[in-house]
Every structure is written in C-alpha cells, then in structure tokens.
Symmetry: C2
Subunit: 336 residues, 2 copies
C-alpha cells in the first residue's frame, strides 16, 4: 500500500495549516534541497507537445528517494471550463524502487511555484521592497501573493489582467487577508512604483507582457509564465539589461525567457545564490530576473514536505497500487 | 475523478476473464498499435539507475491519448522478500492533458510482456513449434507459458531455474491447466528438443544463460531478461548467427542483447513484420531472436485494453487525484 493524499485531503491540510505556513515549509524544503544540488540526478523534464498543450514528466532523485511529477499545460483548457495545469506526484524508495507516496499536485504545484518565486525574490529583490505588481491574476496569483507575504512581508499589490472576471476573483479571494490591492487599468499602470513585478500569463506564444520602457532601475522581475518552447513574456531587451537567474540552466534554455538569448549569455543557477557561491542582488539599481520554469527538484521538495506532514495521519489514505505477493517470485499465485 | 484499477480489481478481472483470454486481448491491442507505428511519439524510456536497480518512466502518445508507465527493476529485492518489478500506468487525454485512467501494472506488465513475446513468436517461430524451454521460472514464467498456450497452442514446457523453489512454485501454479511440464537438471537439458527457448532471468550483469552450443537450427529465442545496460543473457556468438528482431531499435541498442553488437549490425523492428513490410521467419533452419526489452507502446496498448474492459464497471473506483474547481481560474477558491 502506498500513502495517498487526495485533492480533498490537500485542501483540508491547507485549511488546517494555512497557505502561508505551508508555503514557508515548502520554501524551506526547496532551499535545503537546492543547497545540496550535487546530490541530485537532474535532467530537463520530458515533454510531449501537441497542438493545444504539453504533457510533462519531471523526475529527479537523490541517493535515497526518487520523485516525479506528471503535469500538463493546456492554455486552451480555460475555454472548456478546465484547469490549464493539473498534476500529481510520486515518491519512491531508490533502494527497492517501490513507490511509497502519491499526492495531488494541481494545488501543490501552485504552492511550490509560489514558494520558489518568493524564495528567489528573498535573495534577488531589494530588501526594502514593499510593492508587487502582478500581471495575470489566474490560478497562480493568490498563491504568489500569499508566498510573497509569508516570506517577504509584501502586502501591497498592484494587479492587472486582461480578464476583468479574473481580477474580481482575485480581489474576492484575497479579501480580509491583510493585503492592500490596487486594481489597475493596464500593465504600465500596474508596474508603476512596483519593486517587484510578477508576470504570470498563460498564452502559449512569444508575448511581450512586459516591454523595456516599463522596467525601471532596481526592479526584480519574477517571470513565471514563460515556461515552454515558444512561450515567453518578456521583451528581449529587458533580458539584455538584467541579471538573470534560473533554476536548472539546461532546462531553462529550452523553456524559459532565455530562449530569446544566445547560448553564451551569462546566467546564474539560483542554487549557487542560496549556497553562497554566487551573488544575488549586488546593488540597488540592478535589474534582476528570476526566469522560472519550474524544476523537478521543487516538486521533490514539495512532495517530501507534504509526506512528512501527512505520514500516518488522517490526511492520507492507503492506495492499493502495488501487487506484493508473500513469495516474491509468485506473482502469478495472486491470480489463482 | 479518474478511474482507477487497483491490484485487487486487476486480480478479480484476471480471475473472471482468465489469464489466457486477457493475454489474447492485450496481444491484439499491441498488434493493432504496432501496425500504426508512425502514429506514436516514441522515445527510449527515461531510466534512473542506482547501485541496486533502475526506476523508469515510459511515456508514449498518439494524437488522442497519452500514456506512461512507472516501473522499477531491482533484482536485489528478491532477497528482501520484495518484487523485482513493480509498476503502475496512466492514460491521459492529449487534448486537455487530463489523466483519466490509472491502473496497477505489476501484474499487467507481466501479462503484456508475455503477450508481446507470444505475438512475436507467432511471426518468428516455426509454425510446427510444439516444445518451449523456459530458462528462469520467476515471476514472469507462468504468464509466458499461458501466453504461448493462448496464442500458439504450446503446452509442452521444459523448465530450468537455478532455484528449485522457483520450479516448485511454477509446477504448483501450472497444475491442472493443460500443460505438460518437464523439470530439467540444467539449461542444456531444458533446451534439448525445444522449438522455442524463453530466457527470463533477473541478474543485472552480462550473463551467458544460453551459449552457442545449446542453440540448434530452426530455434526461436524469446530473450526477455536482457533489458538493461549491462544486463544480457545470450552469448554474443548466438546473436551473430541469428536474425534479430526488436521492439524499438533506439531503446534496444541501449538495453537489449544487441548491446553486445556493433551498431551497424542489421536488426528488424518487429512492427515491420506485423505490418508485412519485413519478413519474419523465412526458412525452417533459420535461428530467430526476439530481443525484448519492453517498450512504452506495449504498456499503452495494455492500458487501453484494460480501460475498455473496465470502464464504468465495478472493476474501477474513482480516484480523487485532480483538483477541478468550477471556475477554472479559481483554484485558490478551493482552499478557502
């Protein structure tokens, strides 16, 4: 039997712990794991692209534990009333190959992505940062806001989305949770006076959500939505005047904003910053970009954090997924 | 909700249908899918090797359906009283990326592997084949025997395993099921008078389970156990005097018996034989080898066959794996 955290259980866990606390726990797990970067088997995720979207498998492993996530990205789902991104994840024991944990990761992916964003911003944004602009208020937005509040104390949000209903939803969901939200008429309005800009839009194309004229000195850009070949959000000239930080370079060159750059452009893997091997922000005026595409180790960290919290509690149920005969050579005996 | 076939349900399904009938259904699904080879996205499986074993993800996709299997291979598990191979599989809708089906695949992998073996043998073994030698009577053996009976009418088995208890188990499991079983003292004894030789042993090393002197004219070798880098069963000289058939060449060069050969050696992908593009057996005296390592399309075929059989029946249960809010942009709303 493997332990399974269903959607219902994940929701109960979030309600019990609070999204902020859960995000802090997951950010801590990610930071710990990124600091031991060399312990992991790493590879770009395995993507199967189709006309409307992508299905990905994201495996990674340390010496004890193997993890992978199944995740899709289908912007066209919205028009069908479906989620753009859904997912689930599995942990297994490296020594035996036996899976021991499975969890929903539609909600958990949103939390871990936000945890990663805020964690990176802790190292890359100005310490004095107070105001965050959020371009795109879809599924990921509330989780981002809560993560930046929990990890950086940011409560002043300037939001913009093409879809008014998405902004309505965001304001409704964030009411009474300690945020000051300014609803803006367009992206230039939203980014005005912002210390941090989070871009999180869904279109699978090379978009220019942010253009160079919108980006002032000292800004940190948390670029979430450019995460697929042919799917970017930033004007190239922004990248050329910024210092760029990524999760796992080999994968980000395929999927991130840096698709737009020559391969010899200097970028920094964020684990080096966490670990003290590389500098994060060095000056007040510097423009920093966290070109986030999501990497397997983040899911691994999120899964092991949730596993530790839910092990042997009512948040898990047993899933009858592994045939385990008493005599290991007698699999057939089970069928008689 | 996605439909889930647990281990218990898979066992019930096998008991209801009979392993022979189920194998025929799956062999038919594999043959159909292999005949439309070009419809599939194909890649070698993604293997994570450790000291004791391997964990693999095996994805494939046609235009409508995406499938993948998680599977491990840990020969050392036996000494822990655990299964060498366990697995589970998932089908998803390409248009939306939503998974819709999950099933145990520890037992199902054994059936689909046997179905593939017998299907290949139908095209490669002599039509007059009556006797099969089976070297290795572990977890896979009974399924192989039932598949060769169901698809080729073979009931005369000559078995050998280093482990007497494994042969005891095999004889016990096969009693009263229409087979004539001859227990042999060694491999040369078992292969004597055999028309087909099935090798299915578990050691992760370059072994010589069969040597050239044991292989007479006209034999078909169904080589199952060489399925990992550094894990082979046949003496190289056997390969040099045989015609070799594989599932997916790119993967088999990494994992199969043909690891031992130069890359310019001529081999044939078995789908070409099913499809009539290439010859299978051409003469009575020819030695044929099916160098089977297991390929993602076989799992895809097995999963879609089981899905068709179990859809909306009591063999499935609903798994709460996907968070699906009414408003697709309001994932966060689920957590309030």
């Amino acid at each position: 039997m493997i332990q399974f955290v269903s959607v219902d259980s994940m929701i109960s866990l979030i309600k019990k712990r609070g999204v902020g606390d859960l995000t802090i726990q997951i950010a801590r797990a990610i930071e710990d794991d990124f600091k031991r970067w060399d312990d992991f088997d790493k590879q770009p995720r395995i993507a199967t692209h189709s006309a409307l979207g992508v299905i990905e498998l994201m495996p990674t492993s340390d010496a004890e534990t193997y993890g992978f996530k199944y995740v899709n990205g289908h912007p066209s789902n919205f028009s069908l009333g479906k989620q753009t991104v859904t997912g689930f994840g599995v942990l297994a024991d490296v020594e035996t190959g036996y899976p021991f944990f499975m969890a929903e990761m539609t909600i958990l992916t949103a939390i871990r992505t936000a945890a990663m964003s805020a964690l990176a911003a802790k190292y890359l944004a100005r310490d004095s940062s107070k105001v965050m602009a959020m371009i795109g208020t879809g599924c990921q937005a509330e989780f981002q806001a809560h993560a930046f509040k929990a990890l950086m104390g940011i409560t002043d949000l300037r939001i913009y989305d093409l879809d008014d209903a998405a902004m309505d939803k965001f304001e409704r969901n964030m009411e009474g949770q300690g945020f000051t939200i300014t609803r803006c008429a367009d992206t230039p309005g939203a980014v005005k006076r912002a210390d941090i800009i989070t871009t999180c839009t869904a279109d699978k194309k090379n978009a220019k959500i942010l253009t160079e004229n919108m980006v002032g000195q000292g800004i940190h850009i948390n670029a979430i939505g450019g995460d697929c070949p042919g799917k970017t959000e930033l004007e190239k000239s922004i990248l050329l005047k910024s210092d760029i930080f990524v999760e796992y370079a080999e994968q980000t060159w395929i999927e991130g904003e840096i698709q737009q750059l020559n391969k010899d452009h200097s970028i920094t893997e964020i684990w080096r910053v966490f670990d003290g091997q590389s500098d994060g922000r060095q000056s007040e005026g510097q423009i920093t970009v966290f070109d986030s595409v999501g990497f397997a180790i983040e899911d691994f960290s999120a899964l092991r954090a949730i596993y530790a919290m839910t092990k042997d509690t009512d948040f898990t149920e047993n899933l009858d997924l592994l045939a385990l005969p008493d005599d290991p050579k007698d699999l057939f005996g089970l069928t008689r």
